[in-house]
């Protein structure tokens, strides 16, 4: 049987009542809290018994102190006089234990306790929460901007959805923590002023565990479909780099503590090294990925390649739901490259297909289409508006032309609605086809698209 165990504990920094209750419950179950490391709290097996714990806040303490300061030592000796033994600390939070039956509490003045805690919270916890909240708000603002400008790109990527989920969780956790803390502080001050009573804290453990499990579930949901692909290797390497960065920064802090560097030196060097290492590690990682992408490491192997105008061109022979051969008789497959790309998330799937003639064979008809399958009806209008805006954007064509979208007869296309792009009143063969749960962005690079061809395109693309 193990005599020592480690547990991941999630507590709000100000939730001294919750921490004490938990540690006393663990002691009654036969596990005594003896310390913590960066991730876990450590417990030692003992005979189950009643042990009292106390959490107090010492604003003068710092995570960067090489050893407890003189003032902290004096504080500890004060506590030891009443039987309170120091066990561990988390920055300004100090945890004590007492084996006496009814020990005198460490804090007996409610107002002093509340103000003391606030000084400790202001030192780094509140600052950190506000900063994270600010970054979370910024990320959500960027998400909203992207949702309005490029919902197709945003919602068709699981990576984007995972990133948004994480930042949403960060924003929620910070907001809940700050609101809970200030609510408790306001009520605690009133209670202290009215009858000098010490108000118990209530943390947000349940919410934090739920959000953590949610993030893990989203991460697994994001990672599972990628297994075996290059993207999963990229994700794995990225996680490894972040882990290495965190370990190195903590190691630097630990070494400086062992070397008895002052808190000021330790804090400065640790934060500076965090910046520098972030740039170096993440920068190197991105450089490697870019080089790999430029060397085609992430690309599929083409069926063949050919040279034209000093460039090497790839040829693919992917299966496509709609090809020119479906609509025309005299198409030579050897003169074409057939390429497909898919991207799918929980909310949307995007399929891109293109059949392009080789550059060495000018004048051939080409075909390109993007099928957006919308799994969440609420996003349909947003995606349609994006395509309409794209086709109304003069930047996509030579300057000076007047562009418009006109609605066509949809029956020919087996669709609900069809729009065609016009330039100065002249129809172009660029279409937006709206079906039940799909929007198709179709470009036909040949002249005089016939009604029969339209019907075939609508039929073939609707079944995907």
């Amino acid at each position: 049987m193990k005599d020592v165990k480690y547990r991941l504990e999630i507590f709000s920094f100000y939730d001294h009542t919750g921490i004490v209750q938990h540690l006393e419950k663990m002691a009654l179950k036969g596990w005594l809290f003896i310390g913590r490391n960066a991730l876990c709290w450590k417990y030692r097996r003992m005979e189950p018994r009643q042990v009292h714990f106390a959490v107090t806040y010492f604003p003068g303490a710092s995570e960067f102190d090489p050893e407890p300061s003189e003032e902290q030592q004096i504080f500890k000796e004060f506590c030891e006089k009443e039987g309170w033994q120091y066990i561990s600390s988390v920055a300004q939070m100090q945890i004590f234990m007492n084996e006496q039956e009814e020990p005198v509490p460490i804090e007996t003045d409610a107002l002093l306790q509340v103000e003391n805690m606030h000084q400790a919270m202001k030192k780094n916890y509140l600052v950190g929460q506000y900063l994270l909240l600010g970054v979370g708000v910024l990320q959500m603002a960027l998400f909203l901007y992207r949702m309005l400008s490029d919902p197709i790109g945003l919602f068709s990527s699981n990576a984007n959805l995972f990133s948004v989920s994480c930042w949403l969780v960060v924003l929620l956790v910070c907001a809940v923590e700050l609101i809970s803390y200030y609510r408790w502080r306001s009520r605690a001050l009133k209670a202290a002023e009215v009858d000098r009573s010490i108000l118990a804290t209530r943390g947000n453990q349940k919410i934090q565990w739920i959000l953590l499990i949610f993030v893990l579930a989203v991460f697994i949901g994001y990672l599972l479909p990628l297994l075996g692909s290059w993207e999963s290797i990229v994700v794995g390497i990225s996680l490894a780099c972040v882990t290495v960065l965190m370990v190195l920064v903590h190691l630097i802090k630990y070494i400086l503590k062992k070397l008895r560097a002052s808190a000021v030196v330790n804090r400065t060097v640790t934060i500076a090294s965090c910046f520098v290492l972030s740039f170096v590690i993440m920068g190197s990682m991105m450089h490697v990925f870019l080089r790999m992408a430029m060397n085609g490491v992430f690309d599929r192997e083409p069926v063949e390649t050919y040279e034209y105008n000093g460039w090497t061109w790839d040829v693919y022979m992917d299966e496509l739901p709609l090809t020119l051969e479906d609509m025309m008789d005299d198409i030579d497959r050897e003169k074409y490259s057939y390429q497909r790309r898919t991207e799918e998330s929980l909310l949307m799937a995007k399929f891109e297909g293109s059949q392009r003639g080789k550059m060495t064979e000018p004048g051939l008809p080409d075909l390109k289409y993007e099928i957006i399958k919308i799994k969440t009806p609420i996003l349909y209008k947003m995606c349609l508006n994006q395509l309409i805006r794209k086709y109304s954007d003069p930047d996509t064509m030579p300057p000076g032309a007047g562009y418009s979208l006109l609605e066509l007869e949809a029956q020919n296309w087996n669709a609900e609605k069809v729009y065609q792009r016009y330039s100065d009143g002249i129809p172009m063969d660029w279409y937006i086809i709206c079906m039940d749960d799909k929007i198709i962005d179709l470009v036909c690079y040949w002249e005089n698209v016939t009604d029969d061809q339209r019907e075939i395109m609508g039929e073939k693309l609707s079944v995907l």
Partner: protein, 128 residues
């Protein structure tokens, strides 16, 4: 170069400028404040005050070690007590004139309360 880095004192995540001890108003003294100052009418080691208060009040009033530590710091900062001796980590204190004034003011306030109580209960209390 290293000196410059040290002197920059990036304080975002560990704000040294935060007051180490919260400022408490001393217009009205709590029981704990009153008895601490009373103990320091004679020079006394900080740590011994807890026991002294218990004895003085027959264990009616207890001062927690954390509260005692913080109140001593507050009183020192407010000039109501002064340090007399430092022997290693043991520090002794004694009340100052300012502290004695605060104590006397509180005592007189309590006397007024007691007098008002006697006035009310002495005249009307027996009739009720």
């Amino acid at each position: 170069m290293f000196d410059i880095i040290i002197k920059l004192q990036i304080s975002i995540f560990d704000n040294e400028r935060v007051r180490k001890v919260p400022r408490i108003k001393f217009q009205t003294l709590t029981e704990q404040m009153f008895y601490i100052l009373l103990c320091l009418m004679d020079e006394c080691c900080g740590m011994d005050i807890m026991e002294k208060v218990k004895q003085m009040t027959e264990e009616r009033v207890s001062v927690g070690p954390g509260t005692l530590y913080n109140l001593l710091e507050n009183f020192l900062e407010a000039g109501m007590i002064r340090e007399t001796k430092v022997e290693g980590r043991k520090r002794s204190y004694i009340i100052t004139e300012s502290g004695q004034d605060a104590l006397k003011t509180e005592y007189q306030r309590l006397l007024r309360l007691a007098s008002d109580y006697q006035t009310v209960t002495g005249k009307g209390g027996q009739d009720r």
